[in-house]
């Protein structure tokens, strides 16, 4: 170790440079004793870390001390509560409970403080050495011992410590009590500051926005058959709405308006979905079961080989023997219908996203949202616009299952090598030929992966859509949940799993074989 390094160590550490230079040297040589701890850090904890500019250690030390202090406060809170019940023989169980809680918190407080501090002091020099390494490569990394950092430490502590500790010495006010308190304040009565403070700062975020109740809107057919709007003003003195209630009401009004005045559009969509579904059901449900079963197994054999075909046959046999055949075929029809729609809509969309930057920037956030919303939330708008039944189930499924189709198509298109496209252009390809003869064929594996995901997600969603009347295997599960028929529900659940594994292995094997 050269003299320069030692000088750098000292320059970095500032105050107490010799000590840290010595420790860093030991760390670099891997001869730091296992039990070494930094006594300054043991005593100073987060203040030490703050002064040294190590904000990671600062956070760790701060949290350790905060947890210890909160536990201490809880100890006092429950000890005081317990003392209220001393001598009341009929409340002896409450005394025991609060006594137990308070001694638990005391133990936690002591343990956290002692162990936490020791751990902190053990990590201190080791983390500090890391900070030194960062400082060597990035001179903006905080270094040395700077007193003005005390200001940051003080501000952070002042912001967090008092309120948190106060919160743990108090019992959280009930929401009802706070609402009552609001009314009292409105009617001009005096409420102690402490109660107001507790309501405002603890528990629920205070309601900042109050909005007058909007009119209730209904529609009625008049004599000429036209819908007329009937507005009913809110009852005098009815309490105002908060933002949540107001927005919910507005959305409901909008949906009501759309379904009444644009109902024919939704009816047409429903009719279209119904006729499509009928055609598909004619194949799956309308065909005698031996034919359907044989054809399905044959398709599995052709697409994915013998082993998968045997598995498919066994799965289908399970469904048949447990009386799930018709229901399973219902479910299959829904999955096929959704997959077809997802492909017809998702493929062009994916191509657009893959080729245009604007398409990409428009759709990416929408797809992100679509994929993060929990699946059953999609059932709500479907019901709102299309009532219950299979068409809304298909729509909800399509919306839920489409993102991977768009994403993976776009991904496939984007990953077509530039020079392959360039070669096609150099030989005189027009945009359509470029798409059909180069981009789509090269993107096909990715598109097929998208299809696979669409099928699997459709199956998952179709089961959930049983809640809004999609029927099929999911309905049996929903029914079983309602009637506590555990056995029947499990059998159906296993059937759904078999269906999923069957479809998945056929599609995946088919992709592999084609490659």
């Amino acid at each position: 170790m050269s003299q320069d390094d030692l000088k750098l160590f000292k320059e970095f550490a500032g105050q107490n440079g010799d000590y840290y230079a010595d420790k860093f040297l030991q760390i670099q040589k891997s001869i730091l004793p296992r039990t070494h701890i930094n006594y300054a850090a043991l005593l100073g904890s987060f203040v030490w870390a703050g002064l040294r500019g190590n904000w990671l250690l600062f956070t760790i030390g701060f949290v350790i001390d905060l947890v210890a202090m909160v536990n201490l406060a809880l100890f006092f809170k429950y000890a005081e509560k317990a003392s209220e019940y001393i001598g009341q023989d009929d409340k002896i169980y409450l005394l025991d409970r609060y006594d137990g809680w308070s001694s638990n918190h005391l133990l936690m407080a002591v343990l956290t403080f002692v162990l936490g501090r020791i751990l902190f002091a053990w990590f201190a020099d080791r983390f500090y050495a890391n900070q030194y390494a960062r400082w060597r490569t990035d001179e903006k990394t905080p270094s040395s011992f700077v007193l003005s950092r005390l200001v940051i430490v003080a501000v952070v502590s002042a912001l967090i410590l008092p309120l948190t500790i106060y919160r743990s010495t108090q019992f959280v006010p009930e929401q009802r009590a706070c609402i009552k308190q609001d009314r009292l304040i409105e009617s001009g009565e005096q409420v102690p500051f402490k109660d107001r403070f507790n309501c405002a700062v603890m528990g629920e975020f205070p309601t900042l926005i109050w909005i007058d109740r909007p009119d209730t809107i209904n529609y009625r057919k008049d004599d000429s058959g036209q819908y007329v709007e009937i507005r009913t003003p809110a009852r005098e003195g009815a309490p105002p709405f908060n933002l949540n209630k107001y927005m919910s009401q507005t959305i409901d009004d909008g949906i009501q308006y759309a379904t009444i005045f644009y109902g024919s559009i939704f009816d047409q969509i429903t009719a279209f979905l119904n006729s499509m579904l009928n055609a598909i059901e004619a194949v799956f449900v309308g065909t005698p079961w031996p034919v359907t079963m044989l054809v399905l197994v044959f398709i599995a054999y052709k697409m994915a080989g013998r082993r998968t075909a045997i598995f498919a046959a066994a799965s289908l046999f399970y469904l048949a023997i447990f009386d799930f055949w018709q229901t399973a075929m219902d479910t299959m029809s829904l999955v096929v219908a959704s997959t077809i729609i997802c492909t017809i809509v998702g493929l062009p969309l994916g191509i657009w996203v893959g080729k245009s930057d604007r398409g990409n920037s428009i759709t990416t956030p929408i797809l992100d949202v679509m994929q993060t919303i929990p699946s059953f939330v999609y059932l709500l708008p479907a019901i709102a616009f299309f009532s219950i039944g299979k068409p809304p189930a298909i729509l909800a499924t399509v919306i839920f299952a489409m993102p991977p189709m768009v994403r993976l198509t776009a991904l496939g298109i984007k990953h077509v090598p530039e020079n392959t496209k360039e070669a096609a252009l150099a030989f005189g390809a027009n945009p359509r030929q470029l798409l059909t003869k180069v981009e789509l064929p090269l993107a096909l594996p990715s598109i097929m992966a998208g299809m696979n995901q669409v099928v699997m997600m459709s199956l998952a969603m179709v089961v959930i859509a049983a809640f809004i009347g999609a029927g099929g295997m999911g309905f049996i599960v929903v029914e079983a949940l309602n009637n506590a028929e555990t056995g029947r529900g499990l059998l159906a659940g296993f059937g759904i799993a078999l269906l999923a594994m069957m479809i998945d292995s056929v599609v995946q094997k088919a992709n592999k074989i084609r490659d």
Binding site: N419, A423, A424, L425, A426, F427, G428, A429, N430, P441
Partner: protein
């Protein structure tokens, strides 16, 4: 290099003052570059634009193999991509058989790319999901030629590049050299007048590269296609090219025959390239010989002609070395059975060093 008007008319590819600057406001940048004579590095620093091609004018005659040579990043690929307008010039015009490429409409441009220009790429850029035959017939398919004619032509091409029996294979089954033959066959399938070859052999092993170079030279002798051949390897340029253009930072620093480039490098940059090149096949007797009278005045009377080794003015140094071995007398260069010059052993040795 001077070319008169009558010559120019037979040029198949002509580029006049072509500029390409990559950047949003390229024209403005170009004016600034012209005015202040900025270098490529200065443009990059000042505008954050890249100068791809800088004021390049070339003309390539019918059937010529015109080599474009330069280090990586010197703008070779950018230049040839102007010829089939895969890249639009910032300034300048490109003529193909007298037609201004920049004035073509979208459909005419595709027509010209499909019929008149074939292109071969360094990384082959074959379509992995198509068989060799379908890859070769790709340009025909784009022009809606029927399947039967397509496969007939493709099979002929397969024979031409000696890939018999591989027509139904996928590109991935073929070695690099074979893939590039497919690339070559694909470029020639539509029987274009012009071949653009962007470092076609650079990614191949030296031995395979040699073989393909020879094969291509044979083909090009029989097919007589006007070829722009890009390479970063001077040896290859010298082997393939009837003329060579040397590029640096987007500019052409020298155009000339291989011999001219080797014997009279225009600047240090070219000289550096040339330094390691064997001159044996590039320098000819007429360049190293001295007149008979000068020899007789400076050295001594010429011995009897039949005692001297003899050669013609167009023999290269390699041949001269061959005839001179074991002889004491200087080589007499004969033209029309008359002595026109003398090559002494010293002159021969100097010639091999490239100093003439």
């Amino acid at each position: 290099m001077s070319i008169d008007e009558s010559d120019r008319r037979s040029d198949v590819v002509v580029c006049n003052n072509v500029w390409k600057i990559f950047g949003a406001r390229a024209s403005e940048a170009m004016e600034a570059v012209k005015k202040d004579n900025l270098s490529k590095a200065e443009v990059l620093e000042r505008f954050e634009y890249v100068v791809g091609v800088r004021d390049v004018s070339i003309n390539v005659g019918e059937g010529e193999v015109f080599c474009i040579m330069g280090l990586s990043g010197s703008g070779k690929s950018t230049l040839v991509r102007h010829i089939n307008r895969l890249i639009e010039p910032t300034h300048g015009e490109i003529l193909i058989n007298g037609t201004n490429v920049g004035g073509l409409g979208a459909e005419d441009l595709r027509e010209m790319r499909a019929n008149q220009i074939g292109m071969v790429f360094q990384n082959m850029a074959l379509l992995p999901h198509r068989t060799v035959r379908d890859n070769i017939a790709f340009s025909l398919e784009l022009r809606n030629v029927d399947a039967f004619t397509r496969s007939e032509i493709a099979d002929k091409m397969i024979g031409l590049v000696s890939l018999q029996g591989y027509g139904d294979r996928l590109p991935a089954d073929l070695s690099g050299g074979m893939q590039q033959r497919v690339g070559l066959a694909r470029a020639m399938a539509a029987d274009p007048d012009i071949l653009l070859m962007d470092e076609p052999f650079s990614a191949l092993d030296p031995l395979i590269r040699r073989g393909l170079q020879d094969e291509f030279l044979d083909l090009s002798k029989t097919m007589k296609k006007t070829t722009l051949f890009i390479t970063h390897d001077l040896d290859e340029a010298i082997r393939m090219g009837s003329r060579i253009a040397i590029m640096k930072d987007g500019e052409i620093v020298q155009i000339g025959t291989p011999e001219k480039i080797v014997t009279e490098p225009a600047d240090d940059y070219v000289a550096d390239f040339v330094a390691g090149i064997s001159k044996l096949k590039l320098i000819f007797a007429h360049t190293v010989m001295q007149p008979v009278e000068q020899y007789e005045k400076e050295v001594k009377k010429l011995p009897a002609l039949d005692k001297c080794p003899q050669a013609t003015p167009d023999d290269d140094l390699d041949t001269l070395v061959g005839v001179s071995v074991g002889q004491d007398n200087p080589i007499v260069i004969m033209s029309d059975s008359k002595p026109v010059g003398i090559v002494t052993k010293d002159a021969l040795l100097r010639g091999i060093q490239g100093e003439v």
